[in-house]
Symmetry: C2
Subunit: 230 residues, 2 copies
């Protein structure tokens, strides 16, 4: 392809590891799987894969995401690069971590089995291989920041969701409890949600109204110097 400019240098394996986050009524979950190859075969691990030739690192991450969720174009953001010499017990591997947000209901169940994968509550993570626990911590802290200033949380919910659901989600992300009235006041002031006529009766007799995130409205507001903040 091209001249060998950097002949005196050494090359490394590069992997993309994905912190796939989902939300299930009460808790944030991460998709883990039992590693299928040595070293540490059978141990819990993040979803990941090696970067292929001719593939950007973003592409590698989104390939991994598609492979193990069955969904294209998930929301995804880079967390950072992990490059300690001995982080991988096999050979030297430099890994780029990404986190992705997925609506667990859209999820293709069959793929779970196929990949030995399991949704695991963040509150009871098993021991993970290498530096994957650190990656998760870093991803969560990034999500916290991001969710406070950008409407990314909606990626974790179905298209139609209720305000109690949304609040519980934000409580899970921020690891704190929020005041119901203040939370709703803020949302109402931003005016980016669309109230539907339908109610969700799964979690109460009275039922909670469904809402939908109105992306068009949001994009319009952005143009006027509006900033999302929750």
């Amino acid at each position: 392809m091209s001249a060998a400019f950097y002949q005196n240098e050494v090359t490394f394996f590069v992997a993309a590891d994905c912190i796939i986050l989902g939300f299930n009524d009460k808790d944030l979950n991460v998709l883990l799987h039992k590693r299928k190859f040595e070293p540490l075969e059978g141990e819990w691990s993040l979803m990941g894969g090696f970067v292929k030739p001719g593939e950007s690192i973003n592409k590698a991450a989104s390939r991994v995401l598609t492979e193990c969720t069955g969904i294209n174009n998930l929301f995804m953001e880079q967390v950072g690069a992990y490059g300690e010499v001995t982080r991988d017990l096999g050979e030297r591997v430099i890994s780029i971590a990404y986190y992705a947000l997925v609506n667990m209901n859209d999820f293709n169940i069959d793929l779970l089995e196929q990949y030995n994968a399991k949704w695991t509550r963040l509150s009871d993570l098993p021991k993970l291989i290498f530096d994957h626990e650190q990656m998760i911590r870093d991803a969560l802290s990034r999500l916290k920041r991001k969710a406070a200033t950008r409407p990314v949380g909606f990626n974790l919910l179905p298209e139609k969701f209720t305000l109690p659901q949304l609040q519980i989600l934000y409580e899970a992300i921020y690891q704190t409890v929020l005041d119901k009235r203040n939370f709703r006041k803020k949302l109402h002031a931003m005016d980016i949600l669309e109230k539907l006529d339908e109610k969700d009766k799964k979690s109460s007799k009275r039922g909670a109204f469904y809402y939908r995130f109105n992306k068009e409205k949001y994009d319009k507001l952005l143009g006027d110097g509006f900033y999302f903040s929750l």
Copy 2:
């Protein structure tokens, strides 16, 4: 060294590129140099180097920093990984960007010549190779966030500095103008600066008092749930 676990995979060159930032009375500057090898020899570029075997990516970055500043243990933080397939015109190289903050006065002048390096105001950057301009933008946005919540700005100043200097620095980082009285009020409230008896007369007849960042005090406050914020 170890078994060849990942034999079917491909390896890549990995580089560490450093956005070395300095502050000079009025402006933020970045250290650029004229590339000494092909491709694009002679073009302006960030300081960087390939990751060596047995060297972590952080280590590679700090090696590059030491080599071209003559200073050890600079404040440094990872910006992220850049991995577009064609980002490097030579061969496929995945690059991890780091930004570093340095007091330009400490700087070893001789090294500038040795590396064809030059401090350049951010406001008049030349065209840079590859995606280095993007790296700088990303580094600055990261610095902005960081400086707002952690006392990292002091790394850009001499040990003794005046409040006007500090304010100009923050104005450069935030790209905005700050109110002198509000700025000083905040600083005074945080109580992490030590006022010295000495004055700097370089920029006014009256002279401005020197201050020093009191790290011990800051660390003590941290323990009590205090958060830096400017």
